[in-house]
Amino acid sequence: MFYREAGDFKTSYTDDNQTFPIKFDRYRYYVVLAVAFGIIPFLINDYWANAFLLPFLIYSIAAIGLNILTGYCGQVSLGTGGFMAVGAYACYKLMTAFPDVNIFFHVIAAGGVTAIVCTAFGLPSLRIKGFYLAVATLAAQFFLVWLFNKVSWFYNYSASGQINAPERTVFGVPVTGANTEAWATYLFCLVFLAISAIIARNLTRGMQGRKWMAIRDMDIAAEIIGVNPMRAKLSAFAVSGFFIGISGALFFAVYLGAVEVGEVFGIQKSFLVLFMIIIGGLGSIFGSFAGAAFLVLLPVALKLVGVDLLGWPTDIVAHIQLIIVGALIIIFLIAEPHGIAQLWRVAKEKLRLWPFPH
């Protein structure tokens, strides 16, 4: 009834090419933005920010990054944890080396550094692919973690080997360090997420995205029709590295504030982000959000129900939580192998016909 193309006349090519061609979609998008920017910051408290919203926002950026590489360009990567570490350490070095520059630019620059590192580790993708490439990217994961642990320059020779985010402000409001307000950190991450999502969405809709998808679907055919596989693959690594670097920088500077590389950016992180995009949906920006939300919210929600509501012992709840997450992943895959994003798509198709499905 509300969700249909009919009656929504486009009079220019720009209109025709917009991100959300359906009116309902467009308004929904504006409403989401308005709520996220205009309402949530007034309601938010420390618990909501640190337990749900910040990890959700930051993981979403990482998931968008990985989704570009894996979902759009078909290059499976298990080096996400290591690349996030690059972002975090780059941000730390920049923050401490240039304390007067705004943190906003440090985060962007950290993304840039990660893009370079990620491209370098993407070089083997020109020779190998599939699971072999996935395992090869593990080399990046282990090597980077080892490097940040070993070379004390990266943590400014501190005796503890940990990096701590000093206080930095944006427009006079602290966003890192101890004295942050929940709304400020939230908005800071949200801005990055919104910009990342818009960039990613438009990249994947444009020529670059089509090249990536051509490589993903069949690399030889893509080459024949004139896609340069080297450029396409490496550009995917670079763009993906940029987003992952930003998320790593935010993860360290805004969310955690103190990081030890092996513990926070270990192999588990790589797997976690990969789970997010598979559960959410490969090759879908919305899927990145959905997957991140699912894996951030579900464990906390289960914990709240088990421990706080039912009062069960924490260890039994934690074990049952593992079982439920595992079972849900399997059930999900059996019911809908293409992730939450596919459910969303199906729902939209249904909506188009509703209320007269025939």
């Binding site: 699971f131 973690v145 070993k150 895959l333």
Partner: protein, 328 residues
């Protein structure tokens, strides 16, 4: 003979032994991948689970004791009997077969024909699930595992090499046993797949599902069989590693040691897994010995991957891979 060379020889031999253990873990992956195209992330957790089950049966632990106690307010922990190692191993194998059957019936039968990454994801779900069940069932303490395998330095080799080089080599008895068992296992697998009806059916399935189906091979049966064999291999790996460190959560991480082996040897080749394991074992130990001290040590984790990566860049089909497979 210069001292460094003698040391290097000792490191080399130990690398070979470590490589056998890596190969043992990799073997489990290869079996399942070959027959069903599933990259089984849960292999490490299966090793953990089977070793936990083995210890639990041997000690006569009550499964799910913690949950039972929490629900009913009882205080049960042990049945009060102990089971001899051999019987316990047989019982554990039975549990793993049951597990294989359940995995096939409830998960992968519903996922036939899906993309590899979806199947991979399903095994990750399985790994979570099994991890939770294992801990609930047998609790999360570190358990001592003793099935009577010898451990410690091998005196004969120590004395023999001492007479030759003036320096006794250290070879762990457990590693020697592991090597023998791995050799038996591989030999057994080769004979099984070459000469038995089921084994040939398994190879047929690996070659071409459709063709195998059309000549009357039951895919369901083969897949249950493959998962059972992989479960058995996981048990063997679990026993070997568990004897050394006690049975505990970290056993599930040994899968990470097997991945570079798989890259090197190929996901589908049993001899590849063995040779790959040996190369990785020797390579990482020698690198740690020769270069490690210069860069600060603890290089083994990443070097194995880098070694495999460099190798693959020059030879994308792997050690024994056929020329044209999906690698570029």
């Amino acid at each position: 003979m210069p001292e460094q060379l003698v040391f290097a020889m000792e490191v080399f031999l130990n690398g070979l032994m470590a490589g056998v253990l890596y190969a043992l873990v990799a073997l489990g992956f290869v079996l399942i991948f070959k027959a069903s195209g599933i990259f089984n992330y849960a292999q490490g957790v299966m090793a953990l689970f089977s070793a936990m089950t083995l210890v639990g049966i041997m000690k006569g632990q009550v499964p799910f004791a913690h949950v039972i106690n929490a629900i009913f307010g009882t205080d049960v922990h042990y049945f009060g009997w102990t089971v001899p190692a051999l019987l316990a191993i047989i019982l554990t194998v039975a549990v793993m077969v049951l597990f294989a059957w359940a995995v096939q019936k409830y998960i992968f039968r519903h996922l036939v024909g899906q993309e590899p990454i979806i199947l991979f994801m399903a095994t990750i779900g399985l790994a979570y699930f099994l991890e939770g069940v294992g801990d609930l069932m047998w609790n999360s303490e570190i358990k001592k595992l003793d099935v009577g395998l010898p451990q410690g330095i091998n005196e004969a080799i120590d004395n023999y090499t001492f007479n030759i080089f003036d320096y006794g080599f250290f070879i762990d008895n457990l590693d020697i046993v592991a090597t023998l068992i791995a050799a038996l296992l591989v030999g057994g697998l080769v004979i099984f797949s070459q000469y038995s009806k089921e084994g040939r059916a398994m190879r047929a399935v690996a070659d071409d599902h459709q063709a195998a189906l059309s000549v009357g091979v039951s895919l369901n049966f083969i897949w249950i069989m493959v998962w059972s064999v992989a479960g058995f291999v996981a048990l063997v790996a679990g026993i070997m590693w568990g004897t050394k460190s006690g049975v505990q959560f970290s056993l599930s991480l040994i899968a990470l040691k097997a991945l570079p082996v798989l890259m090197l040897g190929g996901f589908t080749s049993i001899p590849g897994a063995i040779v790959g394991g040996l190369i990785i074992g020797v390579g990482e130990k020698l690198f740690e010995f020769a270069i490690g001290p210069m860069v600060g040590g603890a290089t083994e984790n990443w070097f194995a991957y880098v070694l495999a990566l460099i190798f693959l860049v020059f030879r994308p089909q792997g050690l024994f891979g056929e020329k044209i497979i999906e690698r570029v």
